[in-house]
Symmetry: C2
Subunit: 589 residues, 2 copies
Amino acid sequence: MSDYIHPYRDAEFVLNELVELDRLCADAGLSDVNGELVSAILAEAGKLGSEVLAPLNRTGDTLGVRLGESGVEETPGFADVYRQFQEGGWPSLTAAEAFGGQGLPNVVGTAVNEIWHSANLAFALCPMLTQGAIESIAHHGSDMLKGSYLPRLVSGEWTGTMNLTEPDAGSDLAAVKTKAVPQGDHYLITGQKIFITWGDHQMTENIAHLVLARLPDAPFGVKGISLFIVPKFLPDREGRFTVRNDVACVSLEHKLGIHGSPTCVMSFGDKEGAVGYLVGEPHKGLAYMFTMMNHARQAVGLQGLSVAERAYQQALPYAKERLQGTNKDGSRFSIIKFPDVRRMLLQMKASNEAMRALALVAAAETDRAHGADAARHQGRVELLTPIVKGWLTELAQEVTALGIQIHGGMGFIEETGAAQHYRDARILTIYEGTTGIQALDLVGRKTLANQGALLADLLEEIGETLQQLEAGGERFAVQANALRNALEAGREARRFLLDNAARDPSLAGSVSVDFLLLFGYLSGGWLLGKSALRAQALLNAGGGDARFLNAKLVTSRFYAEHLLPRTGALLAAIKAGSASIMALDEDQF
Amino acid sequence: MSDYIHPYRDAEFVLNELVELDRLCADAGLSDVNGELVSAILAEAGKLGSEVLAPLNRTGDTLGVRLGESGVEETPGFADVYRQFQEGGWPSLTAAEAFGGQGLPNVVGTAVNEIWHSANLAFALCPMLTQGAIESIAHHGSDMLKGSYLPRLVSGEWTGTMNLTEPDAGSDLAAVKTKAVPQGDHYLITGQKIFITWGDHQMTENIAHLVLARLPDAPFGVKGISLFIVPKFLPDREGRFTVRNDVACVSLEHKLGIHGSPTCVMSFGDKEGAVGYLVGEPHKGLAYMFTMMNHARQAVGLQGLSVAERAYQQALPYAKERLQGTNKDGSRFSIIKFPDVRRMLLQMKASNEAMRALALVAAAETDRAHGADAARHQGRVELLTPIVKGWLTELAQEVTALGIQIHGGMGFIEETGAAQHYRDARILTIYEGTTGIQALDLVGRKTLANQGALLADLLEEIGETLQQLEAGGERFAVQANALRNALEAGREARRFLLDNAARDPSLAGSVSVDFLLLFGYLSGGWLLGKSALRAQALLNAGGGDARFLNAKLVTSRFYAEHLLPRTGALLAAIKAGSASIMALDEDQF
């Protein structure tokens, strides 16, 4: 089992140098928020993460959760963790002040959320989903719903869930069958939802379930889905939430990972029907889901970084302590002396730094989308969201696998702990939309729908960083050469898609995942190139922690050498198009 | 849970078209062995695999093994499987006829072993390790040892184990501490061994442990290690094996996968010392281990193919049956219609076919190394062994991960079965020498030690296939272009290593894994290119199963488009050398 320490130096470097947090806060009129305050917040969160959340990460894995007579019993100890989490005010960090929130920028919330997900991924899913519920209600709920639910969700007094999936409706929500029948001021909901994360627990007195269902007059397909709030407990005559609503977890899934997070089959309306309240207008449920999808998807991408960081922190001390080489005099040395072990560690470290940079830069775009040049920033949010979700979670698979590999045989032993991160990470490319779904979003709504304008804008900005690297001469030659090749691959991939998608209906789907990964690696290379420029500038000015900044130059270079060249292989696969992919009849597979 | 059916058409295609089995058998003087007989053997093995081994694969995973009062209790049902396996004569397939073996070529044994590993990886480890024990004794044991042990191991009456690893001696066997003290005609062994696969069970009346230990006068390091046989039971006065030797499993590991395979901590000589018999000469244990290492390493590489094949067979029916898309009229279609799902399936299928081709071609080289032009074939065995072990097992990680991904959320649910293959596969890049160890072997003993001669010979043969593809014109243009680039990458990587390794002691270790993977992808591309040529020739001649042969042309093309280009990215990483890998101080990680 590993300890967890928040890598605050790297987070602060990204916030200060890439995000330019002070400027972001000033532009947003948050005069009392600045880098110093954020560092203090991160330090406090880091402490809670290390001391309270992280020690129960393995407990969640080994003890898991169970379904008892009065519902789901979370892992022993989690309720106490939740209490401390709530008392620290963490659920309210980025929520609107009108509902008791602290109104901090999303990018600060994201930097803090990295800590929760690293410390205890299974636990952190609970507040993450609550945040999604808060957003849905805040954006689309009536004033009455807002008044009833938001203060309690924002304070963490209650938690929230998202109920989308049904046995026959996963990626394809058109098939949702759960019904909602109007009855006075509310609706009666009946149906079954599956894969509901934290669908039940005993940590809070109530749970607000957000549920997709169909009204009796609903049109066919995704345009006939409405959004409802279904609380676990309804108010009694005194307004206390003591009356059990007709909704319950009827079974728990036995999963590969995140054992501490209950994944529920939820049954609505087994008896008289579950009381629910319509959020916003009828038939707009899917659109409302999309409102918060950018946030939820970026949050899952962030989990990719978080679990990869945890895997790195598990592997690094092992590599430093494990004696395995023998010197000629019989003395031993640790495996971190072996170049191949260093290569694996650097692959993890460089990947993590690229992921952190992209996750925070993308999060900051959602803040900037509320200020000057809003449309451009919102466009960037739209573009980066599937890349953050898709690429970070795919990269997390590789990093957590390397975490096992560095341990050798010990990595395969569950008690070591490396395997948990590997197992936990495996869900990330699946939930909140698979990599394939993210990739279709990227090539379709985010690229073809705007003739590649959003990508062109990103490519242009990357080109500016390339010019700065080129201007730096020999010092940045490795990064500049690799980024130039990758940028050209990105341009060519964009052109190829735009030129060919219309005449070949299978093309976009055939190349989509490679397309997403290409832009992921390119974006990472862009931001680590930019990081090298900033690190060198700080070194030249004699500012900052020189050993940290010099290491940043090394990881930037390693990334350019080892990860950026993958864009060439991805481009080749993209340009192969759909022919061989569509060639086989089903019985030839 | 998935059924398993041996993909006999592909195995036979590889055996007939790439291995040229009939010629191999004729050259070896095995006049009664031919393709027809081998097909019959494969059909019989496939039946046992599907009907007997495969149904217990999931049982092994869920029930696992336990340590009882009289030792390790294997998964319920495994003893019966073993009995049928033994009664079928499968343990003796490739063993020498002098000891009751059937004397079939190694490549036939390998084709059959693919079935056992696919059907039940955890179970199949037991006969796999027994085969290793047989080889050690057959090559290095005295006539007395051979006479006592081989007939019983070959018949499957007993099983064998390999006891190498100790807590402080994993990849670095120089640190082995287990002691052997001479006493009359035998030795008394004391020490602890870890990670001993199938170190104990109740399926057979005896187990022969092969153990590395040090004699009292042993020189320091790997040159002071000797090899011993330590039977679980010693003979009583009537020659029946009823006297318990002082060796026991003292605990079992709790592992990420292969739960049906007991991984034992073995204690030797807790009381009076375990009776052991020296195999061959003193201090030559490590050399003896190397004798069978080629076989054992190729066998683990084969497991990579096997578990990947099983993962494919798990994912394919799901993709055909899972309805998730909705047509405009409301009817549903299965996810195999989606190009991205087809891409994932083809990635699995093409990878598997490349792995099968390389595994069987490498296995055939070990047969040919006993005939004409033996030195060249033995050189090829030496060269291909680390590639087969390293590349196939790394590729298996990707294929089993895709197997989960195709299932979406269901892939993360343990009952689905896809997760087991993913967990089981994770050990393969670790045991029998990690990928890093294989890669060091490839760049060191197999390349630098012979100035790249072995690689040059392989590259030349690949060049011949390239010429044939080029001569085929437009029909093979995709394969030819991709193979040309990959071949050039291979040549450049070889030159770069030879030119730079001497002046930079960190270089070989820094680039080794990328070097191994590059030659893995290149070898796969070579053999699938060759497969395309043979498939087309058969089609032109009107022979064979046209739908199968046309599918082979498609997977060959897909591989050239999607997997071969990775060689470019790997070459770039290789040419980056060691600078950034060696740049950081340990505290900068």
